[in-house]
């Protein structure tokens, strides 16, 4: 290898890829051209290993205004409004510098949303870390939460929902997935397209420096301890700059001064320029001598690949350039004409009149090889289906186990995190974080928007197909619990190295499950992001296809929250409870083992339950609705009690074991409470919609009293509330929090 290393190696390309480039270009590429291919054909930009599988997703529906392929998807929400939304990963940068990694992840996804012409109205995030009793994990969690807060709070975009899980398998490779949601006039959705030969290409916002060069290729490699030199410069976010860029960009869009625009993200001018040209079927040139720089001495390829934050690329009519410059000047920002749309179909890089690189744009954006990798079912898949639940079955002290679960890292209240996020700014948040989904009112409309992020990666690891379906079903159910109809989803597919056949098998299976559920629940996929190579020293993360889902409430006044509201209300569990202890949080807590059969998911049943919840909320029959998830019925009941400050008097005789009744995680179940006066009409609706249910008892002003098959738990609610509310803060900062200080 040493003697004859090919020129492709430096750019992360394989010899096959190099040969393909030569064949397509009908000549040898020069250094600059090869560096363009290096990033554009990286996994991060080309999706070469995932593209074939992503085609399985349903992407159409009457609600979809913009499907995959643009900066973000858009769905219609009535009153002439569209909702733009997308999720993206920033895993590797966050592993290295948690504050800036998370902050710039938030910044990037926000730009994707306003690039559609939408005003961002909410952010969400999905986080995964290693064990919480580890100092590095605490440092990562503190840094990531502070980074998300530092960026989003400054912009005035409320962070309204999210999820976080802890598992040793994320120890070296945490996940930071950020989602943003914006509102757009459906007639004014903008696209990232370089139409109109002769139009001017402008770069606006921050100046270009040596930030995060080769971040795209970095994201396409595994992390390890050995090669610190490979790491790109940390990108530093400037949320104040982004706020100005947001306001200035929305102002030029409002005045119809722009033809196309796109965020400058991974691979900077190279990817944004070639993608905008590629989408329009046009060419485009960029003169690097016109790009405003922050520092001197950048090589041409550095300018083209810089991932300096808070920049956008615009395509505008030559007659509008001056007006745009004036508006950016008002906001103290630079706007520079750096190129032009051409008719030759080539993406060209120039320095003055000198041509440094010229490649047909389509070769960069569409001609990366589409790999269908070999796949192999891993041995663990069958082996781990068998599990010994005797510790759980014979646990005996149910009350103690419930308290431990409520205090455990994966179940306890996330308040310590979400109180660092401004979740109210904008005055639209009408269901705050802490329940199943956040709800925002839509300005100028009676309607509301419900938002949720979800993925139980233990399910996906143990059964990728079923787990992928469950991730969608749970996100949809969370949204339906508020009374909203699930509309559409975005995703962030976090996996290990796809060149490993067992990882690729996980990917194929999980995307199969995701596609099936999206179809069955009528929630088309409007976009997303794939993040491979999430491994640390050769150990892959559990497959984590995070789902971000939006739902629509016809009347936001009829939103339903998850906590009990009044003593005397009737409590029901909706859905079928089965003898399902596999893959459960309780088994994990007792044994530290990921094993057992993943709970069944019947997508028709899931759909029927969602429809029922929407109908019952619209009829104002539900006082509360709360999804049964990790920790099962007992945890869901306890949460509804302690958040509302109520007790419970419930009794249930069932054929399943007490352990399964309390802690089993059977899917498609929801705890609801109903005012006594609505009992008849509610129960009629249950039977006419064929919803399996059990009437468990009553909300009270006293203790948490639950009796299953004659075994009873009697616990003062304060004894449940304290561990639930306080444990995360206690676990994060014992005895001090040195990082928040720095």
């Amino acid at each position: 290898m040493c003697g004859n290393a090919g020129p492709w190696l430096e750019h992360g390309l394989t010899q096959e890829e190099y040969d393909r480039i030569v064949k397509l270009m009908k000549r040898e590429p020069n250094y600059e051209e090869l560096s363009l291919f290096g990033v554009m054909w990286s996994e991060h930009c080309s999706y070469k290993n995932s593209r074939a599988q992503l085609k399985k997703f349903p992407t159409r529906g009457p609600q979809v205004l913009q499907g995959p392929g643009e900066n973000a998807g858009v769905v219609a929400v009535g009153d002439g409004l569209g909702v733009a939304f997308k999720m993206e990963s920033h895993n590797h940068p966050s592993a290295i510098e948690p504050y800036q990694g998370a902050a710039t992840g938030v910044g990037g996804i926000i730009r994707d949303i306003f690039a559609m012409g939408a005003r961002p109205i909410a952010s969400l995030n999905s986080l995964r870390f290693g064990r919480l009793d580890d100092n590095r994990t605490r440092r990562l969690l503190s840094g990531v939460a502070a980074g998300i807060a530092g960026y989003g709070n400054c912009l005035g975009i409320p962070t309204v929902a999210g999820e976080v899980y802890f598992h040793p398998a994320y120890q070296g490779n945490p996940l930071v997935n950020a989602m943003c949601v914006g509102l757009v006039d459906e007639k004014k959705i903008f696209k990232g397209s370089a139409t109109g030969v002769g139009n001017i290409v402008m770069v606006v916002g921050a100046r270009t420096g040596r930030d995060g060069i080769k971040g795209a290729s970095f994201a396409s490699e595994e992390l390890s301890d050995s090669d610190p030199d490979k790491r790109p410069n940390v990108q530093v976010g400037d949320p104040f700059m982004e706020k100005l860029l947001l306001e200035a960009t929305l102002e030029i869009l409002e005045r119809n001064l722009v033809i196309g625009l796109q965020d400058l993200g991974a691979a900077g001018l190279t990817s944004s320029g070639s993608e905008m040209a590629g989408r329009a079927g046009n060419g485009l040139y960029i003169d690097i001598s016109k790009v405003p720089l922050r520092e001197e001495g950048l090589a041409p390829w550095e300018i083209m690949l810089s991932e300096s934050q808070e920049r956008m690329l615009l395509v505008v009519d030559p007659a509008k350039v001056e007006e745009i410059r004036k508006i950016f000047d008002k906001w103290d920002l630079v706007a520079s004409a750096i190129g032009e749309v051409t008719g030759d179909g080539h993406f060209t890089v120039r320095r003055g009149d000198e041509v440094l690189a010229s490649v047909p744009a389509g070769l960069l954006t569409d001609q990366a090889p589409v790999n269908i990798r070999p796949q192999r079912e891993p041995a663990y898949f069958q082996e781990k289906k068998k599990a010994d639940f005797s510790r759980l079955l014979n646990c005996g002290d149910w009350a103690d186990l419930l308290k431990k679960l409520l205090a455990s890292p994966n179940i306890c209240s996330r308040r310590w995190i979400y109180e660092q996020y401004d979740h109210m700014v904008g005055l639209n948040t009408v269901l705050r974080p802490g329940g199943d989904a956040a709800v925002l009112r839509l300005p100028g409309s009676r309607r509301g928007l419900a938002l949720s992020c979800d993925c139980n990666s233990r399910y996906v690891y143990l059964d990728p197909r079923r787990g992928g379906a469950i991730a969608v079903a749970e996100a949809a159910r969370n949204v339906a619990c508020t009374g909203a109809r699930p509309l559409a989803l975005t995703n962030c597919l976090n996996f290990g190295n796809p060149e490993n056949p067992e990882i690729y098998w996980q990917f194929v299976q999980a995307t199969d499950g995701l596609a099936e559920a999206a179809l069955a629940l009528d929630t088309p996929v409007t976009g997303g992001n794939v993040s491979f190579y999430n491994e640390y020293n050769g150990q892959p993360i559990p497959p984590t296809p995070t789902i971000g889902l939006v739902g629509l409430l016809e009347d936001v006044e009829k939103r339903v929250s998850s906590e009990f509201k009044a003593a005397g209300d009737l409590v029901y569990v909706l859905g079928q409870s089965r003898e399902e202890l596999g893959a459960g949080e309780a088994h994990w807590l007792l044994t530290g083992r990921d094993e057992g059969q993943v709970p069944e998911i019947d997508l028709k049943e899931a759909r029927r339950l969602n429809d029922f919840l929407v109908e019952a909320a619209a009829g104002a029959y539900l006082r509360s609705a709360h999804d049964c998830a990790e920790g099962g019925l007992a945890v869901a009941l306890a949460e509804s009690c302690l958040i509302g400050g109520f007790g419970l008097e419930a009794r249930w005789r069932t054929d399943i074991s007490t352990a399964a009744a309390l802690f089993g995680e059977s899917q498609s179940r929801v705890i609801v409470s109903v005012a006594p006066g609505n009992r008849a009409v509610f129960e009629n609706l249950l039977s006419s919609r064929e919803i399996c249910h059990v009437h468990l008892g009553l909300v009270t002003d006293f203790d948490f009293c639950l009796e299953i098959n004659g075994e009873s738990l009697n616990i003062p609610v304060a004894e449940l509330a304290a561990p639930y509310n306080e444990s995360l803060a206690r676990m994060v900062k014992p005895p001090m929090n040195e990082d928040a200080a720095l």
Binding site: P735, M736, N737, E738, A740, A741, L742
Partner: protein
């Protein structure tokens, strides 16, 4: 050309929770002999000027007006001539 470094610190009478947290962290790492830790900021300004004294006076004015808040902070200015 001169380089002025303005060091801004919280007044002694004002609680510095950042400094206190770092102090606790250093001690918990097992480092001994630590009296106290205070955290401030350092501002570097490159400027033209007649001589050091004049540059220092100007920067002092700026510190009074903007760089430090006398309600809670104190500052010190150090100036060096650049070659």
């Amino acid at each position: 050309m001169f380089k002025a470094v303005v060091t801004v610190m919280l007044k002694k009478s004002v609680l510095d929770p950042q400094g206190a947290a770092v102090e606790r962290a250093l001690k918990s790492m097992g480092h001994s002999g630590i009296g106290s830790v205070r955290i401030g900021k350092s501002i570097e300004i490159l400027l033209d000027g007649r001589d050091e004294a004049e540059a220092e006076a100007r920067v002092g004015d700026w510190a009074d007006q903007l760089l430090a808040n006398p309600v809670m902070e104190t500052y010190a200015v150090a100036v060096e001539k650049l070659k």
